[in-house]
Symmetry: C2
Subunit: 321 residues, 2 copies
């Protein structure tokens, strides 16, 4: 059986899976990224994990290659550079190092660009030529497709929209030190920061007054909203207002047919999508109104990122066959 290894390197979890030609992840495993601060040891852990996954198949496997999605990855150089949400700092030559341990065809790309490619190959963007995939995890990522091709930029670093300054002036700081950066507001982390901000601004009773920042999780905020916690509701409304304006701004750039949202924040469902739709349409220029869809990914929720990463390799086979 022909399979591709898909690896998603996230700030919180590393996800590894084996993906078939239809974009189905047949076997997968997760581990915590931060438990492996030493890069060589981390890469060994990845290889071990792959071996375990492969051993679950009784038949002979033909591994075509390995695709990797990671924040701040350069597709051109095979490196991860200054990723604010990862433990390794500076320029990490990850592709070269992993290739030594696993000599098979290998590609790395910004995780959100990989998500965009996955959406185009296996998901809801089939046949679309202009769309943007947004990943709302620990950080904020964007994969931009224009004229049917990923926008990679001169150096492979296009799509770092999480660090766009939305405020002129004195906004929240992102992990890269950008003041007013979008990611500081719109991401799982941004939502947690907004809970703190809303509790500082208002005196509403809230379950979050008894929970420390580091113990706060996105799912709890969704639950609280469903129970009518006004701090949670205000936090979602505020997050959606900034995301809505950002997506309206992005529309002015490449006029996508649709945005595809993935990542932890999407699991908050209507609490994020309903106000988002409202603020998005409010901020759109007349010429774009009612033309741009905000959609969820068409890939299986738990393995979206793995399939996106695997699509870096599958892409070549889809073109050939």
């Amino acid at each position: 059986m022909d399979l591709v290894i898909g690896i998603d390197i996230g700030g919180t979890k590393t996800k590894v899976g084996l993906v078939n030609k239809d974009g189905h992840c047949l076997e997968k495993a997760f581990f915590r990224t931060k438990e492996h601060p030493e890069l060589d040891e981390y890469l060994k852990k990845i290889v071990e994990t792959i071996e375990v996954l492969k051993s679950k198949f009784p038949e002979e496997l033909n591994i075509l290659g390995c695709g990797i999605g990671a924040p701040n990855a350069s597709s051109k150089y095979g490196t991860i550079v200054n990723a604010s949400n990862l433990v390794w700092k500076g320029t990490v030559p990850i592709l070269e190092k992993l290739n030594k341990l696993m000599p098979i065809p290998m590609r790395i790309m910004n995780d959100a660009s990989a998500a965009a490619l996955g959406e185009m190959l296996f998901g809801n963007a089939k046949g679309m030529k202009d769309f943007i995939a947004i990943t709302l995890g620990t950080g904020f990522g964007a994969g931009i497709v224009a004229n049917g091709k990923l926008v990679e930029g001169y150096d492979g670093f296009a799509g770092e929209l999480g660090h766009i300054d939305m405020t002129i002036g004195d906004g929240r700081q992102t992990g890269l030190g950008v003041k007013g950066g979008l990611e500081a507001y719109v991401s799982a982390t941004g939502l947690k920061r907004t809970i703190l901000f809303m509790m500082s601004k208002y005196m509403d009773e809230s379950r979050f007054r008894d929970i420390a920042y580091n113990d706060l999780h996105g799912e709890d905020i969704t639950k609280a909203a469903a129970e009518g916690d006004t701090i949670a509701l205000k936090a979602f409304d505020f997050t959606a207002s900034i995301l809505g304006m950002a997506l309206a701004n992005f529309t002015a750039f490449s006029q996508p047919e649709a945005f595809f949202l993935t990542g932890g924040l999407v699991n908050s469902g209507k609490w994020i999508f309903e106000p988002l739709q409202k603020y998005f349409e409010q901020n759109l220029l007349e010429v774009y109104k009612n033309k741009v869809k905000i959609l969820r990914s068409g890939l299986a929720p738990k393995t979206t990122a793995i399939c996106g990463a695997a699509s870096l390799i599958w892409e070549n086979y889809h073109l050939e066959h």
Copy 2:
């Protein structure tokens, strides 16, 4: 001789020219757009102007086609839609109407996209695959090239970056009613508004305290800066700070190798370019620093827009031959 008609429809002037295969505009003429508020009469004026230009050549001319650059133009539908800086409102089916008067191959495009194409064919972007052309005239336009192709968007309206909201909240209103829209700050009009703002904020003596808004011209502001007028200097610094942040934000989108600036504001030379370079680098993410150039157009200053428009037709011949 093979020639292409290039037409640039601007908020202030309409420029018409005849352009050869090397991107040289051999004959040209301008007239004021606002003097022809009636569309049919305006189009007749264009056709007359072309006839006059053609009559200047003694030899037989082979007109290959006509390219048009205009604000808010849809390349897909051949229309101009809700252009804030033009007198005709709503959706203007300009290509269809002009084609009836002149039955030759015809294309229309956002003026800044046409400028980008011209830069790629005839100017300083030859061989570049990722760059952005910015036109700073009455308004603010952007033509984005990624992977060697113009980003036109789902509907042909990509690149409306002048209406990106830079402020969250209570910024200046653009002609399209966008609060905090970039064009309200960075354009010939934006610079004039900033002169008023600086005179409202500071009590500095300035020649502009004796000049009404409608009598204010970009060239005067440049002259005043050269003479040390502090209101003019503050206005340039402020304009450059917002443009610098905007270009840094755009870099995060498509990571261009270079920005090419054209239009009236560029004539202010060092007064805009020097502070712009400073603010741009200040705002760039680390990963982009010292990689992205801010350049002037390589096309002849007075006919940049005409050559850009003509490149919509010449593009096809360059590919073929």
